[in-house]
């Protein structure tokens, strides 16, 4: 995915009201590839944890015969973390950090749409 394409993908996500930031994360090593995060969000640490969680969920779901995860949603008291695999062989993760009252369905759609643009 080129830098402009990454920026466009993140734009799609962060323009939804209630989204505090979005990242493209390398699934294999948990490093940030691109980001648009609000001040104060610990992007690097969250990226690493998102990558690790994605790995666990992926293995669990494949083992359970459900196929790879296409979207996951960590619900918390004051917000959420939403993740969609993207890129060739799902080597990337699109990650959105949101406030509690966000329209999760809309963010999910934007994440999936952004993932489609990834090569």
């Amino acid at each position: 995915m080129t830098a402009p394409a990454l920026a466009r993908a993140l734009d799609l996500i962060t323009r939804v009201r209630g989204v505090r930031g979005a990242m493209v994360v390398s699934r294999s090593d948990g490093l940030i590839v691109a980001e648009q995060l609000m001040e104060g969000i610990k992007g690097s640490a969250v990226a690493a944890l998102a990558s690790s969680l994605a790995g666990r969920l992926h293995r669990a779901m494949v083992s359970a015969g459900l196929g790879p995860s296409q979207f996951w949603h960590l619900q918390c008291d004051h917000g959420a973390l939403l993740v969609v695999p993207a890129g060739s062989e799902a080597g990337l993760l699109l990650v959105a950090v949101t406030e509690a009252d966000v329209n999760v369905g809309l963010v999910r759609l934007e994440l999936l749409r952004a993932a489609e643009t990834a090569p």
């Binding site: 083992s63 015969g65 459900l66 196929g67 008291d77 973390l81």
Partner: protein, 282 residues
Amino acid sequence: MSDDVKALSAQLASDPQSLVFLRLGELLRQKRQFDAATRVAQHGLERHPHLADAHDLLARIFADAHDYEHAFDEWDMTLRIAPQHTGALKGLAFLYFKIGDLAQAESHLQAAKDAAPDDPTIEQAFAVIRGEAGATLAPPSPAAAPEQPHVSERRSESVSALPDERIFAGLEGAQEGLLLLDAAGLVLGGALKTPEGKDVTDTVAAYLAGVSQESARAARLLDLGSWRGLSAEGQGGHVYLVQPTPESLLLLMRDRSLPLGRLGLLAQRAAQVARQWLERQR
């Protein structure tokens, strides 16, 4: 088709708005023709959506068909419409008894007794819950059909014989799509099977060890408070993870026909059952 079913069917066909569907559905339930009984009850509910007896009928059909989750929903709906409906109170008592929640079972039976103090089946059900010898419990029958006793020999469930593996007894999919783990990923209850029927309980449990800690860390790093649930969509189904207690993790797995939102509700209900069970183990 028996004559009585034919007669009631004809009566219903001639007057689709009538309440004869209640008698027809009940008759089919007693004949254990659950699919036909369900159709009759559901068609009746389409015309009479706020009729408590219709929801109660559907709940009894589900309960007889061992679909306890839907039975719970229907009895719950019955009580929303008619809070003192004794059939629904006894039905919920039966379901709580099945999952080993004796306090809730007794509470619902007491409410049923308050509403219908002369109903002898309630005392019999109390005897079962208190573990009195020889007593057994079955799904409730309607008040209009006393020949089908509430306490019967049809289903035998001794209170003292609730083994640990039955934590989720009464919850739909308890032996194929529900899993309770401890913090180390060891299985406490439930089981998981692939759509092909292969048991993958231990494999999935091993992969999920550590999910709670990582979810909690991610939430903390993002100042999002505590995590309440983790849902994931797969090509062949959904999973939902919750923490019944800080030291345990519960996974609910279903195919894609069940929307994620509903899966979350089911997971919360299962977590409540698991929490109560875990508390009793201490």
